[in-house]
Symmetry: C2
Subunit: 131 residues, 2 copies
């Protein structure tokens, strides 16, 4: 019987993977309510640790994540969600994936192209930088 194991803070990490490209888009956290809301609505919903409230991805940008399949790991303490992204990018900084930099011996290097201008989508504030 499946029994998700939430951390002491009541959250479980959820890896979001683009269903078609296989690209890992982001890592977010869900509490039990966010998880249930994702199941019922089909739209990936997280718990924002900084804003301390539920956060449906795309509620300000319109770039939503439609959950197509939810997988669970062996220890039942992590989720992997196969999703469709309804917009050009998942990251509040304008990239398709939040993992747009690789770490090098010199520091970091941007490896993706920007898909959109964050200021146009979010204004000056970036309310979705809240995982």
């Amino acid at each position: 019987m499946l029994q998700l194991k939430y951390q002491d803070d009541g959250l479980i990490p959820a890896i979001i993977q683009d269903r078609h490209s296989g690209k890992v888009l982001m890592l977010g956290y869900m509490n039990a309510e966010a998880y249930q809301q994702t199941l019922v609505s089909g739209f990936v919903t997280f718990y924002s640790r900084s804003r301390k409230k539920l956060w449906t991805k795309g509620e300000s940008s319109g770039h939503r994540l439609v959950a197509r399949e939810i997988r669970v790991d062996c220890d039942e303490d992590a989720l992997l969600i196969q999703a469709d992204l309804t917009g050009p990018g998942c990251c509040h900084m304008g990239y398709r994936s939040c993992f747009f930099r690789k770490i090098t011996t010199k520091g970091e290097e941007i490896i993706l192209e920007r898909e959109f201008d964050p200021k146009r989508v979010y204004g000056q504030e970036h309310p979705e930088s809240q995982t």
Copy 2:
């Protein structure tokens, strides 16, 4: 300047992705020492939360993860490691990926084939079920 943000417990989550297939293999956690050891040795090394010590993946199974590229997310609080797996499976339960089940309305469903017999690799105990 890149500044990894470790959680209050000193750990940062690291998603492991198969470099060739794009399959997400597992989610583990690193402390600063595990991260450094991964960088220096090239073998993915975690901090085991249950055993409370460093854990180089594959130290008992021989199924190691060779880190080929390390990516960091926008908030610098999560890692994505592109890796090669030197064995048939990453999961201590015998599957290539720890995410071998999908969640359905009826509970769960296994969606991958077993790659190896865990008892043959680990014996009766499963020391690598320790993320």
